[in-house]
Symmetry: C2
Subunit: 195 residues, 2 copies
């Protein structure tokens, strides 16, 4: 998605050779016009799949999931991280390992919001090691719902998540796949090249 | 807002005499059509204030803030809670006391996203004791921006936040103010009654 790549190149901040900070428009300040273009693109890509629900994970996935959900006319469900906070025991849960924090945390979704009749699209802002998405996939499997695919705004192609998920048969569509970050230069992979 | 009160009465789950669980449409599963009606109502209420930015706090405020921002054509900024996670030192921060968890946590907003030129609307899903909103207000004051007002989806009128904020001169507009919850019956306060 060219508009997105231009935003990343213009406003993203590269730190070292692996961090791309997109706080300016995606995960601290949110450019809602851009999110609308992203939502339309996900609709174009996953149209005809019969999506009944969009699943994401707090916190920074929620904005893009809500804006995208408008184009599918379906509700959003967001998995809650960490402590239970009022969610009760009637939940699907999965353990997610965080490479950033070197620790495992629990994600939870109430059993009220996923059923075998659901066809679920997972939406998230970033895909790196893919552990959070694998946790969501695990929860979808527990519920008996169908996973239609995963829509990612920015995939770090030099980390393992995309390969792991695609390798397990999941349809992953990323609007920008960063192949490498080197000396401040971001190189993108063509999204439709199979690897 | 009648549509909202109907949703709360129909789908909200009352626990004891002080908890209203609205996981079904607001803060776990999200009814995006309802959020659009909420966004239009905030636009009607705060139209003409020259809002340049919507400020909220992760996680459950993000959805309603993003949908609302579409009607104002402005970006959303969400304050980050707890550990810093990649945000750096160039931040405004404030300490927020949580009654639920009986502990104080820090909220942070990058200095890049609030300036003295900004006219800020705070949006959040719930107002109870008001400490999170007071933290956001503190951050806005540190930045030199103007606080135009606070838009809340559901205010617990039997807790102190609304009184504290209005008492300090802040314009707080809540789309539903729950006056009391007793034996499973929810009673609303008329939103335009001054107290």
């Amino acid at each position: 998605m060219e508009l997105l790549k231009n935003k990343i190149s213009k406003l993203g901040e590269v730190i070292g050779n692996d961090i791309i900070k997109v706080d300016m428009f995606l995960n601290h300040q949110i450019d809602v016009d851009l999110l609308n273009e992203i939502g339309k693109e996900f609709k174009r890509i996953f149209d005809g799949e019969g999506i009944t629900k969009i699943l994401t994970i707090e916190a920074s996935g929620i904005g893009v999931a809500c804006i995208t959900a408008q184009y599918f006319s379906v509700p959003v469900v967001f998995a809650k991280k960490g402590e239970a906070r009022n969610i009760g025991d009637n939940v699907f849960s999965s353990d997610v390992f965080s490479f950033t924090k070197d620790t495992t945390y629990k994600i939870r979704v109430s059993r009220d919001f996923l059923s075998p009749d659901d066809i679920v699209l997972i939406i998230d802002d970033f895909l790196a090691n893919g552990r959070a998405v694998m946790g969501l996939k695990d929860i979808i499997e527990q519920s008996g719902a169908t996973l239609a695919g995963v829509g990612i705004v920015i995939e770090k192609g030099f980390q393992d998540g995309g390969r792991l998920l695609r390798g397990s048969g999941v349809r992953v569509e990323s609007l920008a796949i960063v192949e490498s970050v080197y000396n401040g230069i971001i190189t993108y992979r063509q999204a439709n090249v199979k690897i």
